[in-house]
Structures are given as C-alpha cells and as structure tokens.
Subunit: 355 residues, 2 copies
C-alpha cells in the first residue's frame, strides 16, 4: 500500500465534475449522469480501481470511436419476467442502471425480472447496479463479461475476462450486503502495478506464456482463475457461467474475440454483454421477514469467532467502512488521476473544482 | 486413487434395486423413485460421493425419524415467476425434481421461474436437478445449503456448509454443460478419507480448531472456503450467497444451526433449504440460436491451448466421459457399499440383483 498523495473531494462535487467533463466530450446527458454516478459511487465505497480514475480512459474511447456518445438505449420486454436492453454501442453505465430498473419493474409484476444487455461497454463495478436494486428492496444478481485476461483451468491463453459476479441483498437499518467478486484471485491491473513496483506477485494467481505459474510480474501473461493451479476449474467454471449468461441470450461474441481494455485501434464499439436478475423476495413473506432473515445471517456471520489476530467480515463490509469515512472526509483522488482530469478540463475549458 | 474392488451394475438394475430398498423401509413411491433416480444419475456420471453410497445413510435417517417417509410435497405459486415447495420434512430428491419442474412451468409462462424449497433434506448432487431442467431446454441454476463444515474467511468455526452452485445450459447434440461445484476447495469427506489413509491433506484447504491452516487430517476441524487463506473471502462470499438464497425467502434456519450429516440424535427432520431458477432462454432468439451460442463457446473452450502435459475441459466434461463408459460397462459399486446395500436387503427380504 502506497501512502496516499492527492486531494480529497466531496462526492457531489466529484460527481458533478465528472458529469461536466463527460458532457464536454460529447456524452449525452443520460450517459454523462449515469457514468459519473457509477464512478463516484465506486470511489465513495473505496473501489478506486473502478472509480473516477476510469474517466480518462472512457474519454480516450470516445475520441477513438470505441464509445458512441449518441447511443440511444432501448428496452424490449420478451416475456413477463424477461427483457433485453440494447445499449447501442454506448456507455455501459446508463445501460446497466436501465437494465436493473427494468428488471425491478418486471419483478414488481412477475416476481422475478431478468434483463440481458447487449451492444454495451464497460460499466465500472458490477456491484454498483446490484446495490442500486437492493437499495430498493430487491435481491439482485449482476454479471458482466470483460476482455480476455484469465486462462482456463490448465490453459495457456487468456480466454475469459475477470467476469465478476455481484449479489446484493437488502438488510435492516443499513446499506444492503454486497458481494462483488471477480472470478480470478486478483485483478489484472495488479500485474501491471507490480511490473512498475518490482514487487513479486503472490503465488498461484498468474501464469507465463506457457501457462506455467509465475510470480514474476514481467513474465506474467494472464491470470489464473480463482482456485489457482489445483482448484482453478472452479473459478474457470464460474467465469464460463458468467460468459454464457452474458452472451448466449443475445448472441454477443465471446470475450476471447474482444479487444483488450486499452485497445482503441478498432475505432468502433466493442460490444459487450451483461446480465441482471432482480427477485422481489418480498413476495414470499413480506420484505420485513426477508430483511430480518438476511440481517440475522449477516449478524451471526460478523460475530463468528475469528482466528487469532484476524476478524470475520460480511461481504462488502470493508467498503461500508470506507464509505462512512469518505462520506465524512471526502473521496481521496490520487495526484495522477486528479492531474489527468485537470488536463481533460483544460482541453474543454471546464472549471476544476476548488479542493 | 484406490484400485476399484466391487461389482458393476447396469443403471436400470441399480436404480430399481434402490427403489425397492427405499420402499421397503417405508419411503412412499414418489420419494423412493426420485431418490433412486437421483442417486443412480449421480453414480452414472461418476459422482460416487453423491451416488448410491448415500442410500444406507438415508435409511438410517428414516429409522431415526430424521426423514419423514409420509411427507406430502406441496407447491404454491407466489407470483407469475415465483413459487415455493414445502417438502414436508421428507426426502430432498422428490422435492428438488418437483421444484425444477415447477420452475420450468413458471418459466414456460413468464420466461423465468424461481422456486424456493423449505422443510427439505439432503438431495444428493445439486447438479442432478439443474441437468434435469437443461435437458428440457432451460437454463437452470440450483443452490443448496448443507450442514456446517466450512469456516468463514479468517474464521475458526465451521459456519457455512459446502454450499454448492449448479448451473446447466443446453448444448447442441450432446448432454447439457453442467457446472456443479462446492464453494470449498475440497469436499468434507476428503478429510475423513485422509484420516483413514494417513495421506496428508493438500495445503490451503483445511483448518485446525484455532482456524490455522493445517495439512494434518487428524487436526483438521473444518474446510477453508474456495480461495484458501488469501482469497477465501471469495469462496466464503459465494457460500453466503447460497446460504441467503436458500434461507431468506422461506425463513429456513442458517446452516450453523443444522446438525451434521451423520447426526441422527435429534429424531426429527432437520429442515434444509434449496433454491432453483429456470430461465426459458429460447424466449430471446429461439432455442436453436441459444444452443448454437452455448455450443460455440464450449467448443472454443475445449480447443483452447493447454499448458504442457495438460488438457482444457468444459465444466462437466469428466463426468460425461465417465457416463459414456458407465452406460456401456455398468456402474461400479465398491464392495463396502454393495455389502451395506445387501445387509439392508437382507433385513427386509429384498432380492439382491445378480451381478
């Protein structure tokens, strides 16, 4: 962990700055608002990898034609509990908020709503959308494919993305419980960071070009799935489940045909798929019985005896603690990111907020 | 792997024998047929841990009053795409087949069907029911809680069960793809087996009474979640997701209040929860477009380049190979299991099939 060097910005100020920047580069209002909201939400929960530091990359994508700024999001109902969102080659964030909203509308009628999203793009942290739905009382599952970076079990080429699974459940008197996990042990950018710092990678998380386990970040070509060399068939199986849910309903291409995150050479949208599911669990015994049960389990989990020197936390607890601190003290933005945002602001004569 | 010593029995003969045995101990016809079918199905796919070797344990449960033989399974629709099965304290197998059948019926109308099962018991391999639905053209997810055996991340007491996730998808011209995985790295009975054989456990899969990693099967008290000491928060998070899906809709108690697998001291049903979801994916673009996509991904996955000396397989491929061999040559039943079945047969004057 590096010492933090940067500024602290109140969430609403940071979010407003992001809206203005995105709009100045041509994003339509819905996209600018949804993207800024999702990035600020992730940053506010301490998920900095999926927070405002992504904005300059999205601007690069707009400039290169990888993101359509004039995309019109379309929703179509296919059955009482099934629908599809066409993101039109634009931002994944407004498409994902829309998908969860539509899934909840279906669930409010039918009990469950599933919405597949196609022709979409990166949407930041998948958990953002699961949380959005759970805050309204629904049990939400969210999945997204992503560019290839993870080998299959015993494979030597990157096949799946880090393909996360998000699951959010309402709780009594606190923000929902959120599990938001990649199906690899570590994120891809941990490799890039370790190339810079020279610190070896932990064992059992990455492979070289031959598919052999390596701790040398400079030799690491791809990630091992969760479970590592021995049990990676489980992580790879989960990644394949995510990949299928995000592609097979809509005919979206497999991750292996997608360009990498930083590739803007194609000059055209790189169509991604997501999949969301909302369950109106209140239909079983009412919402308060459901949250009593979920809160009861989470509470027993938190009071489960830890091994010496450790603590037992529920999924999302570290982010909740971080959010409380950031809501109070502002969101820390590192100097490099703050500088990149300022350069974009200068390019479009946007005012940089005083901090 | 021990050399196999036992008999080989044709599936239909083995299944019929199981039906007769279960019925002779009082299981009603629906329960006897469903349980025998599920056990024979698991055995036919090489999932011997969840196959016919479980039958003597179920008989012990019947004798002790842990399984009700006169249970009447009830289904209730709660919304166009939501339902609940009350298993009445009886076998989990007929309740789970019923739940998937009802989930498919809901999905045929609404597009998706979710069915929560309560007052149920062990149902063998969860994948059996996902496969059952996918063979009829649905995308099926299945979850079950199980008695406590897995610590939380950094915990020292068994909190969750091995809480499996099953996911099955129809393919063209072959049995569906099935992912059926516990959310721990290894099954609990691997510890018991290693206590007998004296072979050390692999690293990073089990903990002692203090919650510290151990490879000594005699000191092992519980399993680590998938991801081990470092990344076990992911496996624990998945187990918690399964636990919530299986309990919160119906008010089923948490795994931590359940007796262990072998405990029959209570003399009453030990009410478990399952959760099933069927998606009628054909509603998006028709079934053949869906299976073209799923088959295409599985086929690319299988042809992904392996690391030296290894091979890349799709989820469920090893079981498919085993099933082909067992369909041809019969299901191998080890001597100890065959002997236990024969003792039960003798007790009720049931004829033992000639092998």
């Amino acid at each position: 962990m590096e010492a933090f060097a940067g500024v602290r910005v109140a969430r609403d100020v940071l979010e407003g700055y992001c809206v203005t920047l995105l709009a100045s580069f041509g994003a339509n209002e819905e996209a600018a608002r949804a993207c800024a909201r999702a990035l600020a939400e992730a940053s506010s929960r301490g998920v900095d990898t999926h927070g405002v530091r992504l904005l300059p990359l999205y601007v690069q994508w707009i400039k290169a034609g990888r993101l359509r700024t004039d995309a019109v999001i379309k929703f179509e109902r296919r059955a009482p509990s099934l629908g599809v969102v066409d993101a039109g080659g634009g931002f994944g964030h407004p498409a994902s908020y829309r998908a969860v909203d539509e899934a909840m509308a279906l669930a409010a009628e039918a009990g469950v709503g599933c919405v597949a999203v196609h022709s979409t793009s990166h949407h930041g942290a998948t958990g953002t959308y699961a949380l959005h739905g759970a805050r309204k009382g629904f049990v939400v599952l969210g999945f997204t494919q992503s560019g290839p970076g993870v080998v299959l079990h015993q494979g030597r080429q990157a096949f799946n993305g880090t393909n996360p699974i998000a699951f959010a459940v309402p709780l009594e008197n606190e923000d929902p419980m959120l599990l938001d996990m990649a199906t690899s042990s570590i994120p891809l950018n941990r490799i890039y960071l370790r190339r810079d710092t020279g610190v070896p990678l932990p064992p059992d998380v990455a492979v070289d070009a031959e598919g052999a386990m390596t701790t040398d970040a400079n030799r690491a070509e791809a990630l091992l799935p969760l479970g590592g060399v021995e049990y990676g068939y489980k992580g790879a199986g989960l990644a394949t489940m995510v990949e299928l849910l995000c592609t097979m309903f809509t005919g979206t291409p497999a991750a292996i045909s997608l360009p990498s995150f930083n590739d803007v050479s194609r000059g055209a949208p790189s169509p991604l798929g997501h999949f969301f599911m909302a369950i109106d669990g209140a239909r079983y015994r009412g919402l308060s019985a459901l949250t009593e049960a979920s809160t009861g389990l989470v509470s027993r989990l938190r009071s489960s005896e830890p091994r010496a020197g450790a603590s037992v936390l529920a999924p999302g607890d570290p982010e909740k603690a971080e959010k409380a601190s950031r809501d109070r003290d502002g969101i820390p933005v590192d100097n490099a990111t703050w500088q990149r945002l300022a350069e974009l602001a200068a390019e479009k004569r946007v005012a940089v907020p005083a901090v």
